[in-house]
């Protein structure tokens, strides 16, 4: 069942309604339909697949408890009589509920078109759709509730399985983000709204020119559906024009900004404290209307109880107060201020006015030349590339002036008004206004420094554009006096001698422009009075206090000793404690230098010899990954290998484990992974590291306590699942682990879950996290994984949130993301399939078997089928025996796919099949990196189940091609899949989709079940691997471990003879096996069970 949440806006309230998947039997054919058509008047018909209010509430419950507060809005207007239907019950308005309202939707014949293919197909009719009103039930969200709802919806495609966020709802979430951004930048002012009779105190957003541009863009991205609500049901013709998009967005921005500010006001905040005891607002309780106003700015509804005269007086005052804003922000221009260095600004020929100004200021020409200058420029809002100096504006004519003409707007008036405002922030500008034609103002060095460091920020903040010299805006540490730590070459020669515990000594150095400075030079600098100094042709900011502090610091700490770990931390950008100057980092010579260079990726790692006990060859990039893992392991640092799916994280890890064992490691390694890949690990280990004994710690019969410790120490690798990580933590903690590996480490991205806590509690010599999802894109997830790998590296979670997460997410500090990348990059290795270096190493086609487990339900069904088959096989022969064998095989395959496929009962899907779980996980990765996949199954029922499940989980349309699809539909599907913005997942039944199609958009092919006929499978695979395919194609063949699927796969691999027969005969060769052989094939081995 899919529920798509929609939202429209009426009266500044968010109205949330939902569509539910059409039950194939009950849809469009019956219903309101054609009978009502042709009538001139508007009829209100109930939307046939809209959710009820209870269903909407249930859907939102996925967001947590607080959403039980969907408020149905009582309709005050009486239900119009003529809307009451007299005929078919299907056109009944559910007006008893008082929670319906009509929304105008594209309609074919008698039914509204579904918003998404997730819900069903559009009718095949060629008829032109029309817009018609459909009544739906809805939940009404005032500003407070809407903010709560939308902040949960942001960036989500689904809220829970089957609860999909519609494009319109997502749009309102973006609008909220804009409102939040305005508030975060303090772009709001207190104001009043409403008529004098019902005046309210409100906070109003103030949009500067940039914000206006952003708003225009936001509005342009509004899906038409978001404005499909009518103010009143009976205004059809007007409704077709719909509510104007911009005013809808503006009204909501206003409401949300108001609410955001209002709700942040604590009780004590608005000063009129003594009056707050009053339970009812009463003007008389306030000393003045202004106190009343301030108070109401913090109340829930902002209601003001004022006489009409007082109200209009207040409104007038507010208006007078805000007037300067209205003027500056509505203008089609922007005032820019450009700081020009001495010597750069008077080469220009148009300088006469400025010179005149300076002369009038009583300076001689020479002084003017040596001065810094802030030039006033005008920029049209619609053409930021145009910058016209203000002196042009004062001229009566000129080409440049003409280029500024914008409608009726008077550019001179604007410039002076803007300068008048800037003058309140900057005394020099005020002084410059004394000139008849102000063009700019001069500054001395101290003034220039103040302008760079403070004034420019204030002016920018106030909406003026400030242009600063490039050397300042791109200012790296080179332009400042910095401190760095220097590690001289030591006796340590080889890296192997280095351990992070080792104490190294380093010198503190003070540097400027990349050069180390002597104490004498520093003292000279300290004597300079000017805050900006030109040195070697470059301007440098000098802070005498800082330099004196540096000298003091330096005199005390010439050299210092530190653990190598601490030094590495410093080198990677941690803050140096107690250093009074900007800290630039670590320079090092010798072995430590080598180490740092490698860590930071500046120098290639030395290749590591492959362990002899590792069976297989690593591709070049895998060998690099292996060397990297080994390098970090040597240092005792945790590593996160985040290669794209299919690049071989497993083999790189196994290679490392074997290397460890060859170097004498005897303790076991704990590997934690999702249940669905436990078998996969076992198989990969057997294949690539046959000498590594693997203990699968899983299932009911797993060892515990002392016996587990004994068992574990006998093995090289213990594989367990996240579910058990927490439950069996006490057993795990008692084992002396050589290392801990977390596969699909995104499972611990939420630091507060029990399994994350458990993961952090395990102690081991080294830690590895494997994940295929782009960790770097989810800043919030990074902390937990890093805390597991290298505890304490990113500080406490609170500190991390403050230092990185909030600045990055609010987009306020572009450097924060860089800092975070720098400090984490040594521990994260992520290669993409699309990387040039990787592509060269990849074959065109990468095949792998994906071993899945059975759930307990699957296993018991499986056993029941084999028992039954065994009994009947003993009594049968000939054709009947063949029939039973093939039927049994088919049933077993169905069980392996999903119990629901065998039972055919339409029951729930999630959590009942190992294969389905694994497929869902893998497709999740495929989708997260924007890849596309083909999924083949030989059972078209299974395809139907998969489609349903995948659509619910991903919230995206999934195509499904099976034998019943018409030719034109099929062509349409193929076209859509190949399209740039088409669906990302394409399900095909092996028979219908095995041949003749060209689906090169896909670079993943999944075989959900097996046909045991390589030729057929390859043909299917080749749909993606065809001319036009530019990427390497990954083929994932699903096999349930310990079942007939695995047994048959092994037989085919072992016996070439069998394989030949397979090619020719499909599955019928199985019928020629003896009963004993068959029993072996069908038998359920212990490795099958997942939990």
């Amino acid at each position: 069942m899919i529920t798509i949440l929609h939202a429209g806006v009426v009266d500044r309230e968010l109205l949330v309604w939902a569509e539910r998947s059409i039950d194939t039997a009950t849809t469009s054919n019956e219903g309101p339909s054609a009978r009502g058509r042709g009538a001139a008047r508007i009829e209100l018909r109930a939307h046939p697949f809209a959710a009820t209010l209870e269903q909407i509430e249930a859907a939102l419950a996925a967001l947590g408890g607080s959403f039980a507060r969907v408020k149905p809005r009582r309709r005050t207007r009486a239900q119009p009589k003529r809307a009451r239907p007299r005929r078919a019950p299907a056109t009944t308005v559910i007006d008893a509920r008082d929670v319906v309202r009509s929304v105008w939707l594209p309609t074919y014949g008698g039914a509204p078109a579904p918003s998404s293919p997730l819900l069903g197909e559009l009718p095949a009719t060629r008829a032109k759709p029309s817009l018609a009103p459909w009544t739906v039930e809805y939940g009404s969200f005032d500003a407070d509730a809407a903010i709560e709802l939308l902040s949960c919806v942001a960036d989500q495609r689904t809220l829970a399985s089957g609860i999909v966020v519609g494009t319109d709802l997502a749009f309102w979430a973006r609008t909220l983000r804009f409102a939040g951004d305005l508030v975060a930048r303090q772009r709001f002012v207190p104001s009043v709204a409403g008529s004098p009779a019902a005046l309210r105190a409100v906070w109003q957003p103030v949009l500067g020119p940039d914000d206006q541009a952003r708003l225009t863009q936001l509005v342009a991205q509004m899906p038409p559906a978001a404005r499909a609500w009518s103010e009143s049901e009976l205004t059809a013709p007007a409704c077709k024009r719909s509510a104007p998009a911009r005013s809808l967005v503006e009204s909501l921005l206003g409401a949300w900004v108001d609410q955001l500010v209002r709700s942040s006001i604590a009780d004590a905040e608005l000063a009129s404290a003594p009056t707050r005891v009053a339970t009812r607002l009463n003007a008389a309780r306030f000393h003045s209307t202004h106190d009343h106003w301030l108070h109401a700015l913090g109340t829930a509804d902002g209601h003001l109880e004022l006489s009409a005269a007082d109200a209009s007086a207040l409104a007038q005052q507010v208006d007078a107060w805000r007037r300067p804003l209205a003027h500056a922000d509505a203008a089609p221009y922007r005032l820019c201020l450009r700081l020009e260095e001495p010597g750069t600004h008077d080469t220009d020929e148009d300088e006469a006015p400025r010179r005149a100004l300076n002369l009038r200021d009583g300076r001689d020409h020479r002084a003017a030349q040596a001065a810094w200058y802030v030039r006033f420029l005008v920029q049209p809002a619609d053409d930021p590339s145009l910058l016209v100096p203000a002196e042009e504006v004062w001229k009566t004519r000129g080409r440049k002036l003409a280029s500024l003409r914008r409608g009726d707007a008077d550019v001179r008036t604007f410039v002076l008004a803007a300068l008048g405002q800037a003058a309140t922030l900057c005394p020099q500008i005020r002084a410059s206004l004394d000139a008849s034609a102000p063009a700019g103002h001069a500054l001395d060095v101290a003034g220039a420094h103040a302008f760079l460091t403070e004034r420019s920020l204030v002016l920018e903040e106030a909406g003026f554009r400030v242009l600063l010299p490039a050397w300042w805006t791109r200012r790296g540490t080179k332009q400042r006096v910095v401190v760095r730590a220097h590690v001289p070459s030591s006796k340590l020669r080889a890296e192997s001698q280095l351990s992070l515990r080792r104490i190294v000594s380093f010198d503190w150095q003070v540097a400027l422009q990349g050069e180390t400075m002597t104490l004498k030079e520093l003292e000279q600098l300290a004597r300079l009075k000017a805050p900006l100094v030109q040195r070697r042709g470059q301007w440098i900011e000098i802070n005498p206090e800082e330099i004196r502090a540096a000298i003091d610091f330096w005199k005390k700490h010439k050299t210092q000793k530190i653990e190598l770990a601490g030094l590495v931390r410093l080198a990677l950008g941690a803050e140096a404690p107690g250093v009074p100057l900007p800290f630039e980092g670590v320079t090092a010579e010798g072995a430590v230098g080598e180490l740092l260079a490698r860590l930071e990726g500046h120098r290639a790692l030395t290749a590591q010899a492959m362990p002899t006990t590792f069976c297989g060859t690593l591709r070049p990039y895998q060998a690099r990954g292996y060397a990297w893992l080994a390098f970090l392991r040597e240092l005792g640092l945790g590593a996160c290998l985040a290669d794209d799916m299919g690049l071989g994280k497993t083999v790189q890890t196994l290679a490392l484990l074997m290397r460890e064992r060859e170097q004498g490691e005897r303790r076991p390694v704990l590997l934690v992974c999702p249940t669905s890949v436990v078998q996969n690990w076992q198989h990969e280990a057997t294949r690539f590291a046959p000498e590594l004994s693997v203990l699968v710690h899983h299932g009911v019969g797993r060892a515990k306590g002392a016996s587990f410790r004994r068992e574990a120490s006998k093995h090289g690798l213990v594989v367990s699942s996240y579910g058990l990580l927490h439950r069996d933590l006490t057993h795990f903690e008692k084992v002396d682990w050589a290392g801990v590996v977390l596969d699909e480490a995104q499972n611990i991205k939420n630091a507060s879950t029990q399994q994350s806590h458990a993961a952090r509690k395990l102690s081991a010599d080294y830690r590895i996290a494997l994940t295929g999802t782009p960790v770097e894109n989810h800043v919030g997830d990074l902390w937990s994984i890093m805390e597991f790998l290298n505890p304490g590296w990113l500080g406490t979670q609170t500190a991390f949130r403050k230092r990185f997460l909030l600045p990055i997410q609010s987009g306020r500090d572009p450097d924060a993301a860089d800092r975070l990348r720098r400090i984490t990059s040594p521990f994260v290795l992520r290669r993409l399939k699309s990387d040039r270096a990787i592509i060269a190493d990849l074959p065109d086609k990468l095949e792998s078997q994906v071993y899945c487990t059975l759930t307990r339900e699957q296993a018991s069904l499986y056993r029941a089928i084999t028992r039954e088959a065994e009994a009947s096989l003993r009594q049968l022969d000939g054709m009947k025996r063949k029939g039973v064998i093939l039927a049994t095989l088919s049933k077993l395959k169905q069980v392996c796919n999903h119990p629901a496929q065998l039972l055919g009962d339409g029951s729930a899907l999630a959590g009942r099949s190992g294969k389905l779980a694994r497929l869902t996980e893998m497709l999740g990765e495929v989708l997260s990196v924007g890849d596309r996949a083909l999924v083949f199954s030989q059972f078209s029922e299974m395809g139907g189940l998969l489609k349903r499940h995948l659509q619910e989980v991903t919230g995206q349309e999934v195509l499904f091609l099976h034998g019943g699809v018409t030719r034109s539909k099929r062509d349409q599907m193929i076209r859509r899949f190949q399209d740039k913005d088409g669906p990302q997942i394409f399900l095909l039944s092996l028979k219908a989709g095995g041949t003749g199609l060209n689906l090169t958009r896909a670079n993943h092919v999944f075989h959900f079940d097996r046909w045991w006929n390589p030729a057929v499978e390859n043909q299917a695979t080749d749909r993606a691997f065809r001319i036009g395919q530019t990427r390497s194609v990954q083929v994932h063949k699903f096999v349930c471990a310990g079942t007939c699927e695995e047994a048959i796969a092994e037989m085919i691999e072992r016996k070439q003879k069998v394989a030949d027969r397979v090619v020719s005969n499909g599955e019928s060769w199985l019928t020629e096996l003896s009963n004993a052989e068959l029993r072996k094939v069908f038998e359920l081995r212990s490795s099958a069970l997942g939990d």
Partner: protein, 335 residues
Amino acid sequence: MARRKRRRSRMQRFGDSGWFPPSVPRSVKGGIKARNQRGAFGESWWGRRWIDTLESFDLGARLERGRHYARAGQVTRIDVQKGQIDARVQGSRRTPYRVKIGLAPLTRATWRRIAKRWTERAAVRAQLLTGQMPSEIEADFAACAAALFPKAGTDLNTECSCPDWSNPCKHIAAVYYLLSEEFDRDPFLIFQLRGLARSELTELLVGSDAEKRRPATTNVEPALESTRKPQRRRGTKAAASEPRSNTVEPALPLDPAAFWAVPVIAHAADSALPQPMAGERSIHGALLLRRLGGFPFWRGTHDFMASLDPIYARAAQAALELGALGTVPEADDTE
């Protein structure tokens, strides 16, 4: 209640002769308090000039009392109208005194003559628009045989319902001081007092400019009375809202695919909203408030800015947190 109303020349002033002890005003809540709490009033030259007129009257101790009244918030209302100021001042009696300050408005013809002089000088015009009053304009008034500020005694007509015999009394002085602060903030009020409403002034200033730019309309008199809305605002507003008004709101599409989809924007680069400028990151300090300055005739118990500053800081922080909402679980430090 019978109210004694006296109208007297300002020359009669023998009230402060020490016969009565100085009365103590009743304390009042919610009055207009002078922002200036010490030193001289009149930040701008025009505000200063206004005060000069008052102080030229030789009021003696009443000036100091008036300043005290202004700072203590004894004035509870000030209305500036054409040619007249109405105010209420709480004195020692229960009923606040009514204060009137009358100043003869200049005639329309005078205003038009003055505006004509400004037409020649863009800088003066524009400075007026920004809320600055260029000092040259006094000369313009003089040239038109008029005066912007009251010359001693001739145009000023003050009255107060207080029992004090002297005029101007301390109540009038208090209103006078507060007015100088409002004039600092908004010099347009002086024009309003002299008979030219703000909208009329802007009309005069900008209308004459528009006239110059459009030769075809040279013969048309700038509409002084007819248009209530200033042309300037209309002009700029129309230009700014151009994308809104000129593009007709597209009707809802009938095609279901287009109906539900996010419209594709022509330029790929525009698909993401532009980020706020990097410069807009570090400091705030409620700059919009700073930019707008004090609130006209503020009567709050507490200072306007001081009341709002913490709200700005807290709201900004709350909004920042909102951005991180839903994506990250709340911090729970296990250390």
